[in-house]
């Protein structure tokens, strides 16, 4: 009995070490870069990293909700473009910026909701449903913009991407507020618990009285909303709405989620992990630039980091088995 207890204690400590591995890896990565580059650890550069990670982080937060239900949302990059185009287009045609901003948010949220409908009512696998939306969203953006960027936006609106409160850039504030709210929702609401329940075992969740359809509609709508928010912050940051905005962003968002350690199988993970995942990708991009690493080597480094992180995740499920 004593022996068994000792064994389980050791298992716990090994597990928690792996559990916190991602945080440790993040700190180590930062330390290594601080040694390698004298400017890395300057406050200005660290704020830059946070700023550069913020849009991907917003998308990745939404993606976390979806992935926790064992789904996937490939349409986030296209929804970034839709929201930016709607907001930018309205502003250019003379609509007041708060209205344009709201319209952009609504557009993205509605398309996210449409993803949810496709997944629940039509039982289309999330990969296919959101892949279709990736295409539809990009097409709608090209149609609406005629393939040209909208420039000359309201300077007040541009503050959303370029302004700062004290030393903290506004996009970073948006990211922090979003991570706070998402954490509360996932940890302290019935909806949040249901998200985990649906992801671990949809059948058991259904039997326990969870309205699975509602939960799924909820997560895709949230992902659509946060993609739209990311798109509008990006538009403000660039002072222009680009028809090609957000191309390939879905891959960075998924990478942030899985690097953080949230399981693609659903039911396991957290929003804080995703924040760390997004920051790791941001730090990596920043560090590779600072060190002027050969652009041909950079994708290899980034890919290796994803492999290592997901490898750790696999290891965890094997030793843990919760």
């Amino acid at each position: 009995m004593n022996l068994a207890r000792l064994g389980s204690l050791r298992a716990v400590s090994v597990r928690s070490l792996i559990d916190y591995g991602i945080y440790i890896a993040f700190v180590l990565l930062c330390l290594a870069l601080a040694v390698a580059s004298p400017v890395f650890a300057t406050p200005e550069n660290l704020f830059n990293v946070a700023l550069q990670s913020s849009i991907n982080a917003l998308l990745a937060f939404g993606m976390t909700f979806v992935i926790l239900t064992a789904g996937i949302d490939l349409s986030v990059g296209s929804l970034v473009a839709v929201a930016g185009a709607v907001g930018g287009g309205l502003m250019v045609s003379g609509v007041a910026w708060p209205v344009a901003l709201l319209a952009g948010l609504i557009a993205g949220t509605l398309l996210g909701f449409a993803n949810g409908v496709a997944v629940t009512a039509f039982r289309i696998p999330p990969f296919i449903a959101t892949l279709a939306m990736l295409s539809i969203g990009r097409g709608l953006t090209q149609l609406y913009t005629g393939g040209r960027p909208f420039t000359g936006l309201d300077p007040t609106f541009n503050q959303l991407g370029q302004g700062s409160v004290g030393p903290i850039p506004i996009p970073v504030l948006v990211m922090l507020v979003t991570v706070g709210i998402s954490w509360l929702v996932l940890r302290h609401t019935v909806f949040g618990r249901n998200v985990y329940a649906v992801g671990s075992n949809p059948e058991a969740a259904r039997l326990a009285g969870v309205r699975v359809t509602r939960v799924l509609l909820g997560v895709y709508t949230i992902s659509g909303f946060l993609s739209a928010l990311g798109g509008l912050v990006l538009t403000a940051r660039l002072s222009s709405a680009q028809p090609t905005a957000g191309l390939g962003f879905e891959l960075d968002a998924i990478a942030a989620v899985v690097v953080g350690g949230t399981s693609l199988a659903g039911g396991e993970g957290s929003i804080l992990r995703t924040l760390i995942g997004a920051l790791i990708i941001g730090v990596l991009n920043n560090g590779l630039n600072l060190l002027n690493v050969d652009p041909f080597i950079q994708p290899v480094v980034k890919g290796a980091v994803i492999l290592i992180a997901v490898g750790l995740d696999r290891l965890k499920t094997r030793t843990g088995g919760s």
Partner: protein, 305 residues
């Protein structure tokens, strides 16, 4: 949107009818020009250049507007083959998708010339496009002259694309030819404005003393301008881009960018027709004919707007 589409369809059918009524037969004096789209000033200028050259050489030019639709373009090329035109000049909607149409022309023994965009298969007698190497070299030399001495950085396009490769080669030639200005960092920003902003921000951190940046396209250059403004270094860093897109021309007028490189679509059209004429006359033609590009600065920016 619907109205616009209707207009496009109407315009297309008018063009089609016009093409049918004027260009009855092919023959040794007729050239077919299949453009990807005419809904873009660049290709309109290309057509104008081609038309002028054809008139000058006494050739009949039949123009087809592919409306950026591969299926449309392929049927237009099939029509040219049926009419037995002497040469088909193609500006493909898509380099891969156009291959079957090129092969059909090959089967019908009609020589094919490509302009601006190449075809990734079939037999093409000659390809003519902007000289990216020379353009980037010119941009680099201008940047060096403006900077005088010190350090500069480069924002590269999508790794592995011909535009990124050629523009990188040209810029390197300019840098290697002198010693006063050194290139301290060269990083990719994938031809995108948002990445140009992020990467430039990082490069400014690592190299606060840089005096200039060459971006392999204007989108990245405009992103760099934003990073420079955000860092409070407006006007202290010379920004040179490539492509002469409207936003960049505006930035040059405002003094935020120093220069960009403009392609010359008119000359490209003329060159395409000249090659077709050479083929008709039985002369040997070069597999690749570069078209000169021009540097756009504050002095001559008005001409390009």
């Amino acid at each position: 949107m619907n109205a616009r589409k209707l207009v496009a369809i109407l315009a297309a059918s008018t063009l089609l009818i016009a093409a049918c009524s004027t260009g009855g037969g092919g023959g040794s004096k007729t050239i077919g020009l299949a453009l990807s789209t005419l809904n873009n000033p660049f290709f309109v200028a290309l057509r104008d250049g081609a038309q002028a050259k054809a008139t000058e050489l006494g050739l009949t030019l039949q123009v087809a507007d592919g409306q950026d639709n591969l299926a449309t373009q392929i049927s237009q090329i099939e029509d040219f083959i049926t009419k037995k035109v002497a040469v088909i000049i193609i500006n493909p909607v898509d380099s891969d998708g156009i291959v079957p149409a090129v092969q059909k022309a090959n089967d019908a023994k009609i020589p094919v010339v490509t302009v601006d965009r190449a075809a990734n298969g079939g037999t093409v007698a000659s390809h003519t496009a902007s000289d990216n190497v020379a353009g980037a070299k010119m941009a680099g030399e201008f940047l060096i002259k403006q900077v005088g001495s010190g350090t500069v950085v480069q924002l590269e396009g999508i790794a592995g694309t011909s535009a990124a490769r050629d523009r990188g080669t040209g810029f390197k030639q300019a840098i290697d030819a002198q010693t006063a200005v050194t290139l301290v960092a060269s990083q990719t920003a994938d031809f995108a404005r948002d990445k140009g902003l992020n990467v430039m921000q990082n490069l400014l951190q690592a190299n606060p003393d840089i005096k200039g940046v060459f971006a392999q396209n204007d989108e990245m250059a405009l992103g760099a301008v934003q990073a420079i403004d955000a860092a409070g270094k407006s006007g202290q860093i010379v920004v040179v881009g490539f492509d002469a897109i409207p936003d960049a021309l505006a930035a040059i007028e405002q003094g935020k960018m120093a220069a960009t490189v403009a392609q010359q679509p008119k000359v490209m059209g003329q060159t395409g027709v000249q090659i077709a004429k050479d083929i008709i006359d039985g002369k040997t033609v070069q597999a690749s004919v570069p078209v000169e590009v021009t540097l756009v600065t504050k002095e001559n920016v008005a001409q390009f707007k």
